[in-house]
């Protein structure tokens, strides 16, 4: 092939390369948009593989004129933020719930709650002041009352003195004498 022919082909091929890159960019972007839409829908399920249970609204004494949330069920993730904001993992649109209200973390059969800043909640507490919820416990945020229902409830591991053991994952861990002595 002569240099002139190569030059002509290379100059023509530039447009094809731009089109190819553009097609790949647009198609992949569109696939991302569809994926996110599907993921949003999946996140609204109460399936068991990712979520540990659900919060059932047992009472709603929020602002007048707003539709009551009583009876609504919200899937609870293994860990994440409860709030009314867009980025909350467990989003509850309620006048008493702040954008980022409580951090939740599930471990040792209990849901540990850490309020963000000075936001107020009411739920059972451990002697060290940590908020924890077991199956059936209630969480109160302002006028909103919710009950936790775990899909696979288990009793939190306790040592011989009847105190809950932090970090125990299995019965075997718990039985290890060094662990709780």
């Amino acid at each position: 092939m002569s240099s002139e022919t190569y030059e002509l082909l290379a100059l023509t091929a530039r447009y094809w390369f731009i089109i190819a890159a553009g097609l790949i960019l647009v198609r992949s972007w569109w696939a991302g948009v569809r994926d996110n839409r599907n993921a949003q829908y999946r996140r609204s399920w109460r399936g068991g593989s990712g979520y540990i249970g659900e919060m059932v609204v047992t009472g709603d004494h929020g602002k007048r004129g707003k539709s009551s949330l009583k009876g609504a069920r919200f899937p609870v993730p293994q860990g994440g933020m409860l709030g009314s904001g867009k980025m909350a993992d467990m989003r509850i649109r309620h006048s008493d719930v702040r954008g980022r209200h409580v951090w939740m973390e599930f471990s040792d059969g209990m849901l540990r709650l850490t309020p963000v800043g000075k936001h107020k909640i009411s739920s059972p507490r451990l002697p060290d002041g940590t908020y924890v919820m077991k199956n059936g416990d209630r969480l109160i945020i302002g006028g909103l009352q919710m009950a936790l229902t775990l899909y696979e409830p288990q009793e939190p591991l306790q040592n011989k003195r009847g105190r809950m053991v932090r970090g125990a994952k299995t019965e075997q861990d718990f039985d290890d004498e060094d662990f709780w002595e």
Binding site: Y6, S28, D35
Partner: protein
């Protein structure tokens, strides 16, 4: 409030995209570019012809084979294969020697093996807590290793040279694989939000690494480690105070480094005005700017440019070479593809049900995105040049294999997410439908 959810809609929501059209566009791009290059300079070159056959085969094998074993994100895989193809095509067009694209192709193949290892690793070891301390120790040893057995290259003492018979056969940059190890170690530290001390230990560990990198004059890796650590810490803990202190401390450190170290001052001076020393220190920036300008919107044509005038045209300045050969439009689309990869990575992190996976995913994509911005910004004189390379595109085995390993972690997490979604669907089908809010 409660409504029944359509099982069919749920089934559709668990489907993963498989864009065959995109795959064929990629394969056509590889074949057309390589066939063109086979006749570059008016003579037949068999190496590009071999690539024109091998690249589509490897691409098909990877894009079809890996998802057949694990339900990984095919789109992510296709995009990375496109970037690797751009790398081999560009190096075939511009490299002085035919061994350069061949070496890069070998690194990509090794990277694919690292990617498979990454997928297996993240799927097999679900708990990383016990690995955290060993990982930190190994990272520290690896980063400090160039002090003991390493050597200096391009002003930074962050390389290890493996020599045989008096000549260097392999040069390794340990700070590249440590990037991935740092992200895993930090994710393990920040996973437990309750444990503030552990989180601060993670930040302290990253700070020690940064000090070692500063001593090695590896500014690029230092900036990347610092920014990734602070962003990951903020995302994991939402602790504004420590994050602000970190950024203020980092900025103060940058100012101190400017006054303490000559090489930092030189970099800033060249960035502000490369014409103060056009023959030596400002030469590569001037040549890069000329290359980008001469490429224009549509480029000079594959193999018709002169990017070899830029020193390090194959590694640090490959983006300028791409601008000259393929044009600014193509180069902008390349940046768009990086943005889509980062978005998909964040999406994988958001869908993962474990904080550790979410943090690993976020750390990897943030590091990759920042590295891309740093090097592209450095090439176009938006920010001072920091000496990092364009992920998946620039020549270099350490970077390619490390990022492919990191991609393996991303793909592994995407496959775990997909399996969780399938389980959800199965459970819902067994229940005969579910109710959501």
């Amino acid at each position: 409030m409660a409504r029944a959810v359509d099982l069919e809609k749920m089934r559709r929501a668990t489907l993963r995209p498989h864009d065959r059209f995109m795959e064929w566009v990629l394969i056509l791009f590889q074949i057309s570019a390589m066939l063109l290059l086979a006749f570059k300079d008016g003579e037949f070159n068999p190496q590009p012809l071999m690539f024109a056959l091998a690249m589509p085969l490897v691409t098909l094998l990877v894009i079809r084979g890996v998802p057949a074993i694990w339900p990984v994100d095919r789109v992510l895989l296709t995009l990375v294969m496109f970037l690797c193809s751009v790398s081999v095509v560009t190096l075939s067009a511009i490299a002085r020697s035919t061994t350069t694209p061949m070496t890069q192709a070998i690194y990509i193949c090794l990277g694919l093996v690292a990617m498979l290892a990454g997928i297996v690793f993240i799927r097999k070891f679900r708990s990383w807590r016990k690995w955290m301390i060993p990982l930190m120790l190994v990272s520290l040893v690896m980063v400090a290793l160039p002090f003991v057995i390493g050597g200096e290259l391009n002003g930074a003492k962050n390389w290890i040279f493996i020599r045989a018979g008096g000549r260097t056969i392999l040069s390794v940059q340990p700070s590249e694989p440590v990037k991935v190890m740092l992200v895993i170690a930090l994710a393990s530290c920040f996973e437990d939000r309750q444990n503030r001390l552990k989180s601060i230990c993670g930040v302290a560990f990253a700070a020690i690494l940064c000090v070692v990198l500063l001593a090695e004059k590896d500014l690029g890796a230092l900036v990347l480690y610092f920014l990734t650590t602070m962003l990951l810490y903020w995302v994991a803990t939402n602790d504004w105070m420590i994050t602000t202190i970190g950024f203020v401390g980092g900025s103060a450190g940058a100012v101190a480094a400017y006054y303490m170290f000559d090489y930092v001052r030189t970099r800033i001076a060249i960035w502000r005005n490369p014409w103060i020393d056009p023959e030596v220190s400002g030469y590569q920036l001037i040549q890069a700017t000329i290359a980008i300008g001469s490429g224009g919107w549509t480029g000079m044509g594959l193999g018709l440019g002169f990017p070899r005038d830029i020193p390090l045209y194959n590694s640090d300045f490959i983006y300028a070479a791409i601008c000259e050969e393929f044009g600014l439009m193509f180069a902008l689309m390349l940046l768009g593809i990086y943005a889509v990869i980062v978005m998909r990575g964040i999406s994988i992190g958001m869908n993962s049900k474990k904080r550790f996976y979410a943090l690993v995913t976020f750390g990897i994509v943030v590091m990759m995105g920042l590295q891309t911005l740093l090097i592209v910004g450095g090439n176009i004189r938006l920010i001072p040049l920091t000496g990092v390379v364009l992920p998946f595109v620039a020549e270099g085995g350490s970077s390619m294999i490390s990022y492919m390993g990191a991609l393996g972690l991303l793909l592994g997490i995407s496959s775990i997410n997909a399996e969780a979604a399938d389980k959800d669907l199965q459970k819902a089908q067994l229940q005969g439908g579910v109710k959501g809010k």
